[in-house]
């Protein structure tokens, strides 16, 4: 047998392989490694043995990046079928849900090809056990189970006479290989698990497989195993991600409900601002709809979420304001007003220790700031005031104006809007006021808020 004679055909096979690997249909995953591995120049003609070896190494590195192992397996089966003149080829893979090895792809001559999905091997099938128990007597040093070796074993009189159990086992394995018309069975292992088996029928010319061919099968089987194991790992990971997502959604729902409950508790204490938080939150959401795409929004990790929670909790600091001030029936003294003004700082202080709410805490702290710098607690102006806080300021002021206060009667909606317009650019950010006006014109401010009766309509 001359290995040299075979080199040109191996070279052709490798070129073909590269072509298939680079084919977009192949579904090479972009994750990890260098996807352009095959741009490395291959010797054009007369690949030497060491080139062949390095080619295989390179091929295997690319192949394990196939996203779907089925693609790789189909390609392996196709390659063998088209290039290696065997009667038939098949791949059996272990399917967890069926607890069996199922034939998932095959090719071959009419009647030789085993139909896909038609055949399974149980885990206690003698053929499977040769591999899962790593029965070294049956397997050559390459790891391949060779029909010729089984026949040799059966012809050995010593085995028949001295090791009847082994003889029976050889017979059982032979029978399974006969059923599958298998000349070679190549295992696909990942760690110690047998993931599948590559089955090869006889060569059409009837000759034995060469060492190079067997080495090639082993490489393909190993690559398939890696691809399958990778895909399984990714699948498990995705499943885990889904579980965590679900957990997060649940937790998040509980969290939002806690925030709502907290807001309701604050509202309940303040007899004059009943329903205030709910309305402000709704106004904020309506204003925010008109602000999509403004550059400030992109500064937030999750702008809508920050807005929703911050508006729900903007008055949480009122928890620290004495009842007699909060519910005073009459105008506040300057000292009392100073006390009330602390609520934004108190609110931020309450929220600050909660890591997930540190952004929200900033907004809560600044919701009483004025655009011209005349607000409290820090006297911030313009863009120094966090964006969400500027939205809350407008919504908060509109609700304050359109509801009764101990010291003054409520304004009509029209009067309140006039005041927003008048203070646009001084107390309020003009962008937010315009967004509010847009939302108002669309009917999004007063509709769907469920608390309309608090307004003069």
């Amino acid at each position: 047998m001359s290995a040299h004679k075979k080199i040109p055909s191996w070279g052709k096979l490798q070129d073909w392989f590269v072509e298939k690997l680079m084919d977009n249909q192949g579904g090479v995953s972009p994750i990890g490694g260098n996807p352009n591995l095959f741009n490395a120049p291959l010797p054009k003609e007369g690949l030497q043995k060491q080139d062949y070896q390095s080619f295989l190494e390179a091929a295997s590195r690319t192949m394990i990046r196939f996203k779907k192992p089925e693609h790789l397996i189909k390609m392996i089966v196709k390659t063998i079928d088209e290039q290696l003149k065997v009667m038939h080829t098949a791949v059996l893979l272990y399917k967890e849900e069926k607890k069996n090895y199922i034939l998932i792809d095959s090719k071959g001559a009419t009647g030789m090809k085993i139909p896909v999905g038609f055949v399974r091997l149980t885990v206690d099938n003698p053929l499977i056990r040769v591999f899962s128990e790593k029965n070294s007597f049956f397997i050559s040093e390459t790891g391949i189970l060779n029909y010729d070796d089984i026949i040799c074993g059966l012809r050995n009189r010593n085995i028949l006479e001295l090791q009847p159990d082994l003889y029976d086992n050889l017979l059982a394995v032979k029978k399974q290989m006969d059923l599958l018309k298998a000349a070679l069975c190549v295992p696909c292992y990942f760690k110690r698990d047998l993931l599948g088996i590559l089955v090869l029928g006889e060569k059409t010319a009837g000759e034995s497989f060469s060492r190079e061919e067997m080495g090639f099968f082993v490489t393909l089987a190993n690559d398939a195993a890696m691809a399958i194991a990778n895909a399984q790992l990714i699948e498990n990971l995705q499943q885990r991600v889904e579980e965590i997502k679900e957990l997060y959604i649940n937790e998040h729902r509980i969290f939002i409900h806690t925030a709502i409950a907290l807001a309701a508790a604050i509202d309940a204490r303040d007899t004059y601002t009943h329903g205030h938080t709910e309305r402000v939150t709704n106004y904020c959401v309506s204003i925010a709809k008109e602000l999509d795409g403004v550059p400030e929004v992109s500064q937030y990790k999750d702008y809508r979420e920050t807005l929703q929670i911050a508006s729900l909790l903007h008055d949480v600091g009122k928890i620290g304001i004495p009842d007699y001030i909060l519910n005073k029936n009459g105008r506040l003294t300057p000292e009392e007003f100073e006390e009330i003004k602390k609520h934004s700082i108190i609110g931020a202080t309450i929220l600050q220790p909660i890591k997930e709410l540190s952004d929200v805490a900033k907004e809560v702290r600044s919701h009483q700031e004025c655009y011209d710098g005349s607000g409290y607690p820090d006297g911030l102006a313009g863009n120094d005031i966090p964006f969400v806080a500027r939205i809350i300021a407008v919504a908060d002021a509109f609700d304050a104006m359109t509801t009764n206060r101990p010291y003054r009667k409520k304004k009509t909606v029209e009067e309140a809007i006039q005041e927003l317009k008048a203070k646009s650019g001084t107390q309020f950010d003009p962008i937010i006021v315009s967004a509010f006006l847009l939302a108002y014109e669309k009917g999004n401010i007063l509709n769907n808020h469920g608390s309309k009766d608090n307004h003069n309509l």
Partner: protein, 119 residues
């Protein structure tokens, strides 16, 4: 030589099973649908039929009924996927003698045919 008829609308399956039993000394006929199966039953009178349940047109259960009308003595083994359990019960009532589920273990395929030929 035993006469076996394989009925399946998948060509690959017919070819494979035909080859499989030819190697085991059978005379094998194949039919890709119920109608073909019936005319082969009339012409060749097989001793045993491997009959797929899920087929386009006349399904396996209907074909079973017609084959039994032609010749009650023909042994019929249904080939089925697991989810066809209701159909399987119906097939038993109509006189099927055995069933094999896909994907199948090749030993069972051989055993089921041999066992039912004897029985």
């Amino acid at each position: 030589m035993h006469k076996l008829l394989v009925v399946d609308d998948e060509h690959d399956i017919c070819d494979f099973v035909k080859n499989f039993f030819k190697d085991r000394g059978f005379q094998v006929f194949i039919a890709l649908n119920g109608e073909e199966a019936l005319s082969l039953v009339k012409k060749e009178r097989p001793e045993i039929v491997l009959l797929d349940i899920k087929m386009k047109g006349m399904d396996g259960v209907a074909a079973l009924k017609h084959i039994k009308e032609i010749d009650k003595s023909i042994k019929i083994i249904m080939v089925t996927a697991l989810e066809d359990q209701d159909k399987m019960n119906e097939a038993y009532k109509l006189g099927a003698c055995d069933y094999i589920t896909k994907p199948l273990v090749l030993d069972y395929l051989e055993q089921a045919v041999l066992k039912n030929l004897k029985g």
